[in-house]
């Protein structure tokens, strides 16, 4: 029984979260002493497909076609399920991206598989069991969930598994699978993607602003700091509720949970709902003028000071660091 990894692309290119998921799936295949087959759907060139070998895929099934250029969860789920059956794969891995969340549940039903959404660690298969740790309570905790089904679907939380590279190429094979007409009832009218900004769920570094910044007009320095660091921008709930920033930037229990290497919180006090969304960050830096702000209790580094004085100095310091590096 092999492992099948669905490799999501954006405009023909694989993303970092895809490489993480391939590395993760490779490790599961190794646990089970079996092979790893990747499936790509859409318009991806042969070199890009073969590069999946670097992350551990032995074979890549390439599914293309005019109707499949853009993601339609129902059609993609049909194709991936068919590939899993034909390849004899009992474990299907994908990234817990926005699209992955639309696919995993449909795949679970099609394959009569238990689904782990948002895995953060490799399965523990001690004693013939299959247990996976996943996020729960919006980042306030983890749950260890056991799958008892023969088939299994696992979606991996971005930024939670390290990419492993080895110099090897995957064999690319065209794969044709039929999605039925009714799988295309949802039709894409428009895709709007800002290419100059780092996407928040995938970002290695996140610079986040709160109510302490007093108004949307003061976000220029947050954006400048983010640009310098190659970071995504984010905000707290009161900020998006007030319409200072879009909802898509809201990090916290009822917004997006992130797990970057570095989370810089500026002018955010650290309400329990916000902390839930950032608790998996590897390093947290807090800049706040209130030394008693609860955020300092969960931070690794902190500066007690006025954001309007500290952030410009920090920007200068990073420019100097970059110039000397």
């Amino acid at each position: 029984m092999s492992v099948l990894i669905y490799t999501e692309n954006a405009d023909g290119k694989f993303k970092k979260s895809t490489f993480e998921a391939v590395s993760y799936a490779r490790a599961i295949a190794d646990q089970n002493k079996t092979n790893l087959v990747a499936i790509s759907i859409g318009d991806v060139n042969k070199d890009e497909l073969a590069s999946l070998g670097k992350y551990g895929a032995e074979k890549v099934l390439n599914v293309s076609g005019a109707k499949l250029k853009n993601f339609v969860n129902q059609a993609y789920a049909s194709i991936i399920a068919e590939a899993a059956k034909k390849q004899g794969a009992d474990i299907v891995v994908l990234s817990n991206s926005f699209s992955g969340r639309g696919l995993a549940p449909r795949l679970g039903v099609k394959l009569e598989a238990g689904v782990i959404d948002g895995a953060v660690a490799l399965p523990d298969q001690t004693g013939g069991k299959f247990r996976v740790k996943k996020t729960a309570f919006s980042g306030k905790a983890f749950a260890v969930v056991e799958l008892t089904s023969t088939n299994k679907v696992i979606s991996l939380t971005p930024n939670s598994y390290k990419i492993v590279e080895t110099p090897s190429k995957a064999e690319v094979e065209d794969f044709s699978a039929e999605a039925k007409e009714s799988d295309f009832r949802a039709m894409i009218k428009e895709i709007v993607r800002s290419t100059d900004k780092v996407s928040l769920p995938d970002a290695d570094i996140v610079v986040s602003g709160g109510r302490g910044l007093k108004g949307p007009e003061n976000w220029a320095m947050i954006e400048e700091l983010a640009d310098l660091l190659g970071a995504a921008t984010a905000c707290s709930k009161p900020v998006s509720d007030a319409g200072w920033r879009p909802h898509s930037e809201h990090v916290g229990q009822t917004g997006i949970a992130v797990s970057p290497n570095l989370y810089i919180a500026i002018g955010i006090s650290g309400a329990i709902q916000h902390l839930a969304g950032v608790s998996s960050s590897k390093v947290i830096v807090v800049i706040n003028k209130d030394a008693d702000a609860p955020f300092f209790k969960v931070a690794d580094y902190g500066i007690v000071g006025d954001a309007f004085e500290v952030v410009p100095k920090l920007i200068t310091a990073i420019k100097e660091y970059k110039a000397s590096a």
């Binding site: 969860n73 789920a77 926005f98 969340r101 639309g102 696919l103 549940p105 449909r106 679970g108 039903v109 099609k110 009569e112 689904v115 959404d117 948002g118 996020t135 729960a136 309570f137 919006s138 980042g139 306030k140 905790a141 983890f142 749950a143 260890v144 969930v145 056991e146 008892t148 009832r185 949802a186 039709m187 895709i191 709007v192 993607r193 996407s199 928040l200 660091l229 909802h247 898509s248 229990q253 009822t254 570095l262 329990i272 709902q273 590897k282 390093v283 830096v285 300092f296 931070a299 580094y301 902190g302 500066i303 004085e309 500290v310 100095k313 920090l314 310091a317 990073i318 100097e320 660091y321």
Partner: protein, 245 residues
């Protein structure tokens, strides 16, 4: 238009999450349970879409009798009637299966859920209901408009959005942006007591997953403070000590 809104009963967002019985049970002691915040958004939009006698909004919950205050809250906010499937929500598959069986017998034009519940964060129920009923499903929508027998929705994608048109009926998971949650008024609260709440028994179904145990995130060490006059020191620490830049 008949809309079904799937609701869950979850710990309040301010809850400090702890566990008992050797980290195998969620400690509900002193915990206030609420209507899942994302489901509140779905409910608010459903009420807007059926405003002025243009249809009805049914809320459905899979839960034991303890979830009834949350169901009444949904009725107070403005749902027309409610259904409770009388069993504990074992996992997403179990819940989706129960709801799908109900929809088979009682068809709806639109089925909404929250994008995820804030306890297990699965984002699975909408997609599973869609697959079980062979209906289109969209996870995490930011906007929902209906025009006749078609809807236009905006779906969140990494670094942007996607606009889709979908024929009714379909299933969608709502997120912030779709509607502002509604606060029940006194009339709503009074009328909620007498609105129909039908209790039905679950159907039998195999389950595929069990929660074995819980963990809380490892505590961080003491915060290292850097002087506000010396952010360069912070940059140095992030580079040499934390190694994140």
């Amino acid at each position: 238009m008949k809309i079904l809104v799937c609701i869950s009963n979850v710990p309040d967002t301010t809850t400090k999450i702890t566990f008992t019985d050797n980290n195998t049970q969620f400690n509900t002691n002193g915990v206030q349970f609420i209507l899942n915040p994302y489901d509140e958004i779905a409910l608010a939009r459903a009420i807007e879409l059926t405003d002025g006698g243009n249809g009805s909004v049914t809320v459905i919950n899979v839960g034991d009798v303890s979830t009834e205050p949350t169901i009444r809250k949904a009725l107070a906010i403005g749902a027309t009637d409610a259904v409770r499937i009388n069993t504990k929500p074992h996992d997403a598959w179990f819940v989706a299966y129960q709801v799908a069986q109900y929809i088979k017998a009682n068809p709806f034009d639109l089925i909404l859920t929250g994008r995820e519940s804030i306890d297990y964060n699965g984002s699975k129920v909408a997609g599973m209901i869609g697959e079980l009923l062979d209906l289109p499903s969209v996870s995490i929508i930011k906007k929902l408009d209906i025009d006749g027998d078609k809807a236009t929705v905006e779906r969140e994608i990494e670094g942007g959005k996607e606009v889709l048109t979908i024929p009714l009926p379909f299933v969608a998971g709502t997120a912030e942006g779709v509607a502002e949650p509604k606060i029940p008024n006194m009339r709503g609260i009074m009328s909620a007591r007498t609105k129909p709440l039908t209790v039905i028994e679950p159907v039998e179904v195999k389950t595929f997953s069990e929660v074995i145990s819980f963990e809380t995130p490892a505590p961080r060490g003491q915060v290292k403070l850097v002087s506000a006059d010396d952010p360069a020191k912070l940059v140095e620490l992030l580079h040499t000590e934390a190694r994140v830049i």
